[in-house]
Symmetry: D2
Subunit: 357 residues, 4 copies
């Protein structure tokens, strides 16, 4: 069991990279919400490959077809199911990976977990393709949240050590400024350097990782719970569902480990809860009314053209593997809308708690 | 809803800092396991306050009394319930916090979440006291895991920017070397510097944070699942249940964001899965057989003697607050066994999946 | 895993019949509700043994001690934990059951499930004693529901084939009339006959079963969900948690199987939803605003003085067993408050859904 | 939230009667199981309408198309998703039900629950059509269980008060004898009378209900748990997910309420657990190794041609409603495979627990 999330809003994701279709079922979404399908498709396009020279050359429409849950684009209370049919399959690119597990991929662990029965084509269910259904589910949540005054925005915070400018986690303007940018950073000079890193890695047959920062503005105070069902718990469980995420932090995050309490504590003021936001809008697992801020570490794309050591599963002997096919030298840009989507799913799930009764 | 964790092993934690008792119920633990009560109590003592000049002066035995689940210290299959009675209450220390929320604490969010009905004494259910029941549950899991050849060990990785030596995430010896140390670091010189930072902060009426690193050795390959029920998802949901944790990363974690794919990918070899472990023993949410490694960022203790800005909840007017009472200037040392305990709960829960069927 | 229930309101039950204590943890209950402890204790007494010649001679106070979740009897939002300490243990009565499983009891299945490590004294975690914690949790829910205008009442519908009068499932008065009766039936003549059956069975060293009917008045329309999270699903999952329950039906229940659609359909009227209530207040898993009505079949107490065939677990050879000790010849009267309590837990859990958002 | 079931095996059902498609996602099914697609389609056909004069005239193939989870018909560990596209829609038949709720249907409660946004065509997500996806999920589980020596069989036990012969709940032969019968009863004479009842009801423009009995043979002893996660709890939660089910009982069920303990207790014997099976193979929520037996009460089809009282939702005024369209006068025959399917899902979910660890 694996690919579903949520307490009140249940999102179930299915599909393999090269299977007949991928998609999602989202159950528990309130009835009566009209989805803006053009906006949803535009959101999906932000994640889609083939948009510039930094992403894979695959061309996929990735537009969802809704099978249920809607009456004339308005949610009817029944579970929403949407499917993206696969149209661009090239099975042969991947045929060898069953025997030669690619370093950094799930080939090796899937072989053990599923006893060799896993779908190896394109990484099967472990493929980054599966983030498209996450964008369907989360894209709808984003629209709903926006209709309630909650706005979620993400940016590229860093690529291969090149950092965008810091943000105070309070003022929404810098985050708003990245909307619509093809390479969503606050400081475009930093963005240029990041893109240079990516292209440089691509030239070397290598790849690079990065950090995405996401913030939710307008989240009401009082959401969440102490201990295991707090905001951090539920959001991190969701965010680690995005392939390649290896770290999640909130507010000051790991930097708080180097601070004094007097620096890290956000004092309270008459005008609003706080003027600083080291807590990332969360105290005791519960939202404070300040922006909810998280950062996710995204590892370098494991698929690289450089030759790597591996073994042959059948013989157990050492082998070399070179990953061909079409792969992003850095998935961070395409991860930005995925992080927004998954963050939205988690926030929406908490909004559907009934703390006030 | 909040204070329970797990799919197969359900751990429910109850209690308030100054209530009649705190405790836990653990359901789903296999029958027939004999608990070493002396070892459990010794483990609990690692978390207990009052052990040295860096921790609060409170003296608590914190020894659990088992109400159910055992027959002569052996698990009988029924839910285990254990209680720690509170014996050392000083309600008056905290009386003012309801009206004057302490910065960095859950006073403010609890007031909103519970409409003013929360137990304010000592932070109520948000108190660090609640990590004692986590140590009961996790301490038992640690024993069970050890009987299955799985050993979990944590160390202080950093305090206020002072770092212990790096560890290659492969060789267990450096991590084993911290066992039994009163200040569990690999390099005791670094440990001395960390302690100096803590004492310095205490003198200033301030506090500091840090990082705890935890590793599980001997975890079989093939545990976990893709997407939302993977190792990172379940472990992070658990670890963020520890108060003051603001970040969780696995393997190379945030450092992976600055690496090339060729650096971050762990190649496969004939002799064992890998010689490096940037993945932290997890690929695609599933264990690879390498050590499972996580790091948690712990914020500085929010309770500090320095005067801070706050508001009066009743009047809404600006006020000053000074947190008296007995507080650790750094909770990182006491967090070490708590991280081990919670990590063990999550690993145990996954072991109780039936992937092989 | 086993002994917890609920989606929003999590109730975890622990204890063994002859262990140190039994109790419950209830998480997710709204803050700010003042519990009437006298009323709760009076409710607990309705379940307690030793009240008349039809129940076991054991004398137990069964009064809960609250360890957490309350500030001066008012819920504070933290999990509520309550314990009943066992004071009247007679271990020797039961020593033989490990080797000689009692027919109709869980001795046999527990032996297999827990590999012989189960607590055999008094049935361990399978004992009817465990319904006391259910009454703590449910008794509090009953008070909360009543404060919201929802009143739950149960009666003995049948004992050993002797039926109380039918009830139209619409008019609350007949159900209200049983409140406070020591033997809660509408028609006391039927009640006399039932009691005669029970005493007759007791004289024979035998036992009898019966049916409890429960209704919730004032439940708002629109609670519940289609398919697997409907009212019937959640309530039945809860009610089968009461030991000895072997059937659950709603509205006309099994009788509907013998009816025409024209009889079983409840027509809609201007004055209120319906004049009849064959649906038991539930259509498509969702409440209609009519009384929610269920019936539970309770099997005869398996503990009987008559000699029965069994086997010796160690030798596998045929043996005879006679169940001594103190046992109710019919648990139906004491089951009435337990059914109310568990029904209340399930209704409360659904009220904490946020369908309206 | 609503339409998903299971702890280890998660089944999510989507679709509306007249939407683009209906289907299911099943997550957690073990990898490496080869599905017999012909057998699955044959199983689906047992549920399909249009097979004889007692079922609706609609002709639907109802054959599932798998989008994911399989590699050449063998499960690969990824979630299985299957879709049945709707090909035979007649929206106009149902247009009026939004304003005039049909008695016995979910029209009224859905209107309240979903605020008028529900899909009214053909009952939307509440339609009996949604039992087709249940048959996909459960049909696969049935095959898997059979490969493990567990065989599930159901029969019509009663229609409109006409009973098939009783079965001792021990000997599999009578249950096996119904396999392949177009009207699955043990005694075909009783079956003839039942069919006469159905046709008679049809002629009157009315409908009738009935009882389905289901048994699982070969279930190992030791499955399940006490209290809320026992076999009865999990199976009943599943079975009440079938539309029109109003009662569920196990073993002797409601009849046990009229028995002596000495009759209802199943004695243990050397040769096997028991010679009788009043417990329905379940003691203390845990399987005993005897056949697991349940019965479900199915109400008469609410859609009848006879004129019924209702109200107009818009005006609130009294109206008359007559349900046209194509409806089974009795859904019991088509419910038989659905009960088998859902029973199989629940048993399979329990088999995926890891009680032995």
């Amino acid at each position: 069991m694996s690919s579903y999330f949520g307490k009140n809003l249940k999102v179930s994701v299915f599909g393999q990279s090269h299977g007949a279709g991928i998609g999602m079922v989202m159950d528990g979404f309130p009835a009566g919400f009209k989805i803006d399908m053009d906006a949803l498709n535009a959101f999906m396009q932000r994640r889609a490959p083939g948009q510039n020279r930094m992403t894979t050359a695959r061309k996929e429409k990735d537009l969802p077809k809704f099978l249920s849950g809607l009456v004339e684009d308005t949610t009817c209370g029944a579970p929403m199911a949407a499917v993206i049919e696969n149209t661009d399959m090239r099975k042969k690119d991947y045929a060898a990976h069953k025997l030669l597990p690619r370093p950094g991929h799930a080939d090796y662990t899937a072989q053990i977990r599923y006893g060799g029965y896993q779908d190896v084509s394109g990484g099967g269910h472990f493929s980054g393709r599966l983030t498209a259904p996450l964008c369907i589910a989360g894209g709808i949540c984003l629209q709903m949240l926006e209709s309630r005054g909650i706005k979620i925005m993400a940016r590229i915070r860093a690529v291969h050590g090149v950092e965008d400018v810091k943000w105070d986690m309070v003022d929404p303007k810098p985050m708003q400024s990245v909307a619509g940018k093809p390479f969503p950073v606050i400081d475009d000079n930093a963005g240029e350097k990041m893109q240079a890193e990516i292209l440089d890695a691509a030239r070397k047959g290598d790849s690079v990782g990065g950090v995405v920062e996401v913030a939710a503005f307008g989240v009401p105070a009082g959401l969440g719970d102490p201990m295991f069902m707090g905001v951090e718990n539920r959001v991190s469980q969701a965010l680690f569902g995005i392939p390649a995420v290896k770290g999640v932090e909130f507010g000051a995050g790991f930097a708080a480990a180097g601070m004094y309490g007097s620096e890290n504590n956000d004092a309270f003021y008459e005008e609003g809860p706080c003027k600083t936001n080291a807590s990332g809008g969360i105290l005791g697992g519960i939202t404070s009314g300040m922006p909810v801020v998280a950062r996710v570490a995204i590892k370098p794309t494991p698929s690289i053209a450089l030759e790597q050591d591996t073994i042959d599963f059948e013989t157990g002997k050492a082998e070399k593997v070179q990953v061909n096919g079409r792969h992003d030298p850095c998935i961070v840009p395409r991860a930005v809308p995925v992080v927004e989507a998954v963050f939205a799913m988690a926030i929406m799930d908490m909004l559907l708690d009934a703390p006030a009764f």
